[in-house]
């Protein structure tokens, strides 16, 4: 369904057509489909927020929440910031947008323990977004993947939201990590993260011109 709509929607985003409020119902339906089918189309969602920005009378808080939650699922990309910039102070303060803003803020700070606690305390906020929790786990794995060479197994389980052993094994396998007793081996970081030395290289060609001019 989402795939099928992608083309239709793309034609609605071309040129000046992007600002046509008549497209709003279709675009809003597309947001709902994305939530349901775990699909994602940032450009279409930004166009919805843009139409709200130009036509405040059409502002739909429910759709806006879905767009923001979908943006959270696309961390580490900065889609969430892009969405935030198209809203205004008053809208951000509205319930439950302010809750989502808080979630975004702690996720940006990588305080995953608090994030999970908060999400579990209000399941109704995120449960409409299919695959929401796993998308966040993907982001956790991204951060772990760029930070660690080896990580404590218990700590990893905590970061993923206090997952049980089976789930932990699933994520470890998915990312090709290896369990080594109490630790999980992520990857050989010292191959990528090395001290760089930048030295000036001057070869003859570089100085040829100036030498020629100084006769």
């Amino acid at each position: 369904m989402a795939e099928a709509m992608k083309q239709t929607v793309a034609s609605m985003l071309k040129g000046i057509e992007r600002y046509n409020p008549d497209n709003l119902p279709t675009l809003e339906r597309y947001v709902e489909i994305q939530s349901r089918e775990n699909a994602y189309d940032l450009e279409a969602n930004l166009a919805v927020l843009k139409l709200y920005q130009f036509n405040p009378q059409f502002f739909n808080i429910d759709i806006t929440c879905q767009i923001l939650l979908k943006a959270l699922t696309n961390f580490p990309h900065t889609d969430f910031i892009l969405c935030k910039c198209l809203l205004n102070e008053r809208q951000l303060a509205e319930e439950p947008i302010n809750q989502i803003m808080y979630l975004g803020d702690i996720l940006e700070q990588c305080d995953f323990q608090i994030f999970w606690k908060r999400v579990h305390s209000m399941p109704e906020l995120t449960q409409r977004i299919t695959g929401f929790l796993d998308s966040i786990r993907k982001f956790v794995c991204h951060v772990v993947g760029i930070t660690y060479q080896r990580i404590d197994r218990v700590h990893l389980a905590e970061l993923l939201g206090d997952v049980d052993d089976v789930t932990l094994k699933h994520w470890v396998k998915k990312y090709g990590w290896k369990e080594e007793g109490a630790l999980v081996f992520i990857s050989n970081q010292d191959e990528n993260i090395k001290t760089k030395n930048i030295n000036e290289k001057i070869d003859f060609d570089n100085v040829g011109a100036i030498m020629a001019s100084c006769r």
């Binding site: 405040p56 910031i81 940006e108 060479q149 700590h155 001290t195 760089k196 030395n197 930048i198």
Partner: protein, 551 residues
């Protein structure tokens, strides 16, 4: 018809006409003055001559002459006769030039622009409206004909038409949002003509110019190295349409940025490589403006490497070509301001994302007040971040004006406050990173617990008592945040500036192996090449001068 040389002579010859004595009695009040001058203004002979010749050049499509008139004579006459007063009214002009509608539209474009720029108190509501209608006339003329219109204008003028159009929209939106000083009559008028300077109308004009010129297709073909004429179409082959199309893309970049839509801002420039010289890159002001908005959008998207690359490359260009546009004062002010803003933005980016940049840009940042500001920001002075941001950011707009019946308040700051908040949230999230970075810089390996101890001691508010476990836990969160924030999308190739891959471009990086931090720093050896080249050139210069001295 006379050539511009004759004109210059005429200019000095006729200099002593009775301008001063004619206007000795003006009141100083701009509105009274304009009535006064309307009655008494006798157009100086020189201005009449100028207008006649100007009109002929427009009609005969003398682009080269028009460029001289536009860049040279107009500013000169403005300074001479119209420093503090508007140029003559349309009716006064028509008395002297033959009926040439397009010339009058172009004249009025300049006339209103001059009012916006120079007349104290700014344009009146009526003038804002009339300027808008004049732009409508101009764009209707260009866009609605069945074939390309017989008009050619210098590129700088075309750029300034589009740029000014967006500027006047911005100015109107700000004016509109300040409800507190409006009279009932003004509010009434604003209410009844809400189509004037409407955001959709402005977008529509820019999009129409883009489409008419096929500029997107042209740029796409141009990017592959082929000749873009093949896809330009009937209109796009004409320089007028092609350049208006290109400048409209930059206009859209600016407009999207003003509305906080950074994604569209960058996207609209697809197939334009901002740093590359091309057939479109002849207008410095346009290039500088492009880089400013692109760099800013990148910064907001936390693409610091891209922002830093964009800013340093244009700042380097400005450093090298400064003398070229130093002579044109009205452009110069604008360029100077934007340059200073870009140095501020670059300073912000470098504090958040330390990275090696070109030595001569680094040199400027070490000088002047930039150094102190960077120092303060590094030490977590949030106010300094905010000050720099507010000074250097675009003048953001709310696309929807407040209703004329809302409380008579100043709404013009709402948009800028919001964008500032978004940016400061980001800074706030990163507030611990500079401290961590400064410790990591001292080591190649460092146990997490040891760093946690340092961090705890650094915070003086805990009366000596602290819990190592707790400190370690919160440190690990900050370390994860460090890695997350320093790994960003960086453009390397592709048609769109939105493309890119995740990279850690900052000069300090690390990884954690269980409970040990391994640190990788970037060490830059001293550079001698530039230094010696400068000295060699200086010596050569000195030597040459010595030879020229005749004793």
């Amino acid at each position: 018809m006379y050539s511009s040389d004759d004109y210059e002579q005429g200019y000095s010859r006729d200099y002593d006409y009775n301008y001063d004595t004619d206007y000795g009695g003006h009141t100083g009040d701009p509105t009274a003055d304009s009535d006064y001058s309307r009655q008494h203004f006798k157009m100086p002979e020189l201005v009449v001559k100028f207008l006649k010749y100007f009109c002929e050049c427009v009609r005969d499509r003398q682009v080269f002459e028009l460029q001289n008139l536009y860049e040279g004579t107009w500013p000169k006459l403005t300074e001479e006769y119209f420093e503090k007063r508007p140029w003559p009214e349309e009716t006064d002009v028509t008395a002297h030039v033959k009926n040439e509608p397009i010339f009058l539209i172009l004249y009025k474009e300049l006339y209103f622009r001059h009012i916006y720029a120079r007349i104290q108190g700014g344009p009146t509501l009526e003038q804002r409206f009339n300027s808008f209608y004049n732009y409508c006339d101009l764009f209707n003329y260009i866009l609605s004909e069945a074939e390309p219109v017989p008009l050619e204008l210098p590129e700088l003028w075309l750029w300034e038409i589009v740029d000014e159009f967006v500027y006047q929209f911005q100015s109107f939106a700000q004016y509109r949002a300040r409800l507190q000083k409006k009279t009932a009559q003004e509010l009434e008028q604003l209410n009844s003509s809400n189509k004037v300077w409407n955001v959709l109308c402005v977008l529509n004009v820019l999009h129409s110019l883009v489409e008419k010129s096929n500029i997107k297709q042209q740029l796409e073909v141009f990017a592959t190295g082929a000749e873009s004429d093949s896809v330009a179409g009937e209109f796009g082959r004409h320089n007028l349409y092609k350049m208006l199309g290109y400048f409209s893309l930059v206009g859209l970049l600016r407009l999207h940025s003003l509305l906080g839509d950074y994604y569209q801002a960058i996207k609209v420039l697809e197939n334009i490589e901002v740093h590359k010289k091309s057939q479109f890159a002849h207008v410095p002001a346009c290039q500088i403006s492009t880089s400013y908005y692109v760099g800013f959008a990148y910064m907001m998207m936390r693409r610091y490497s891209d922002a830093i690359r964009t800013f340093s490359s244009i700042l380097l260009y400005i450093q090298r070509t400064k003398q070229l546009f130093a002579t044109k004062s009205y452009q110069h002010d604008q360029i100077n301001k934007q340059t200073d803003q870009m140095y501020h933005l670059l300073a912000i980016c470098l504090v958040l994302h330390p990275q090696c940049i070109d030595e001569s840009i680094q040199q400027t940042l070490r000088e002047k007040n930039y150094h102190e500001k960077m120092y303060k920001m590094q030490y977590g002075d949030l106010q300094e971040f905010e000050n720099c941001f507010v000074y250097a950011c675009p003048k953001f707009l709310s696309p929807c004006p407040p209703g004329t019946d809302s409380i008579p308040d100043d709404f013009s700051k709402e948009a800028i406050n919001h964008q500032t908040t978004v940016f400061m949230d980001e800074v706030q999230q990163q507030r611990m990173l500079p401290t961590i970075r400064s410790y990591l810089k001292l080591y190649t390996t460092l146990p997490i617990s040891k760093l946690a101890t340092f961090m705890a001691q650094n915070q003086r508010n805990n009366d000596g008592k602290w819990d190592l476990d707790k400190e370690t836990q919160s440190l690990i969160i900050h370390l994860l945040c460090f890695k997350h924030k320093m790994k960003n999308i960086v453009w390397s190739k592709g048609a769109s500036g939105l493309d890119g891959n995740f990279h850690s471009g900052s000069e300090l990086d690390f990884y954690i192996d269980n409970d040990m931090i391994h640190i990788a720093d970037t060490k830059v050896a001293h550079r001698y090449g530039d230094f010696f080249i400068r000295k060699i050139l200086k010596f050569e210069d000195l030597n040459r001068k010595l030879h020229l001295i005749k004793m």
